[in-house]
């Protein structure tokens, strides 16, 4: 499965279920990788994903890379006194036995320097680097700007 996903690059015709596939590395499973349409390539894109850790050891997401963007970064949206900002997140904890979401209004991948505008239905790979488990690549599905997440039939794992 991992090899299949690694082989898939910037395809323009993603199957609707791409974001629903689960990839694993060590004790971590990664699924529901999705992004939103951008207006042009000048504006940053966004990357959301779910990670769960079924092991007994804490891990952490420490970086992302993708051919779709020159400067991908981990961010966290923080609202303090009603004011939203999104500082760089050096690392996102994935504690043992827990799951973590990069999701709207919280942690997210910020895709700066897009190589092309992201269009609905596109897909692109993102490689996640974990402190302990190493690297894993997921396919990310581009949904509409209004989307709240991929529509997966299974209720997650």
């Amino acid at each position: 499965m991992k090899h299949l996903l690694l082989a898939a690059t910037l395809s323009l015709t993603a199957s609707a279920a791409l974001a629903c596939e689960t990839v694993t590395v060590g004790d971590l499973s990664v699924e529901h990788g999705w992004s939103k349409v951008t207006i042009g390539a000048g504006r940053p894109g966004v990357f959301y994903v779910s990670i769960s850790n079924s092991g007994a050891t804490d891990d952490a997401l420490v970086g992302i890379s993708t051919p779709a963007a020159g400067m991908p970064m981990l961010h966290e949206t923080v609202v303090k006194d009603g004011v939203a900002s999104m500082p760089h997140a050096m690392s996102i904890p994935v504690p043992a036995g827990q799951s973590v979401q990069l999701s709207p209004g919280g942690y997210h991948g910020m895709l700066m320097g897009l190589t092309a505008a992201l269009k609905e239905g596109d897909s692109f790979p993102v490689t996640l680097s974990f402190e302990k488990a190493g690297e894993v690549t997921v396919n990310v599905e581009v949904l509409s700007l209004r989307a709240e997440g991929p529509d997966c039939a299974d209720a997650g794992q």
């Binding site: 769960s52 949206t77 009603g82 004011v83 939203a84 979401q101 209004g105």
Partner: protein
């Protein structure tokens, strides 16, 4: 499994915060996404919902506009008299055309307003909201900004704010209170 990460919990209200001035006393002049001039006086006798943001914003702004679109759909024709506007805090990049391309992705009742830096600053101060430019190393920049959604009664009085991390179930009842 237990989850950690992004949750929408109720945020603490800002105690002692100064309330926005009534729409009827506001003085800004902005331009909408169709290049039409908009003044607060145009909104008299209509309930009003305003959100500040910018189109380069990939997380908070589309999330809020998606939420607003869902609320408007839930309210249906009931919300047809509601003025709904995104006011850009990044007028340097957000031209009326940029806003048109952006708000076109959401409920058609949402207007996009921009204007001169001075007029945006005037609107921000009348809404008692804050925004600031944050420069990044590569010469690019982003904007920090008040993320709440402001609600006003038809007579222009400030009604309430829907906070970004507030439980979204409270939003539609809050909006409904401004409609009658």
């Amino acid at each position: 499994m237990l989850g950690v990460g992004a949750y929408r919990t109720r945020s603490r209200p800002a105690l002692g915060a100064v309330l926005p001035v009534p729409i009827s006393e506001m003085t800004w002049q902005l331009t909408d996404e169709k290049n039409q001039s908009v003044r607060p006086a145009d909104w008299i006798d209509r309930p009003v919902m305003v959100f500040f943001g910018f189109t380069w914003c990939p997380d908070v702004c589309p999330t809020t506009l998606s939420d607003i679109s869902l609320w408007l759909e839930e309210l249906g024709a009931e919300a047809d008299r509601l003025i709904v506007a995104l006011i850009s805090v990044d007028p340097e990049r957000d031209t009326p055309d940029a806003l048109a391309a952006y708000v076109g992705n959401f409920d058609p009742r949402i207007l996009g307003l921009t204007g001169s830096a001075d007029e945006v600053a005037r609107a921000a101060s009348e809404f008692r909201m804050t925004y600031r430019r944050v420069d990044k190393d590569d010469g690019d920049y982003t904007m920090d900004h008040t993320a709440g959604v402001f609600l006003f009664y038809p007579d222009g009085r400030f009604a309430s704010i829907i906070d970004f991390h507030e439980d979204r179930r409270f939003a539609v009842p809050k909006i409904r209170r401004t409609l009658s």
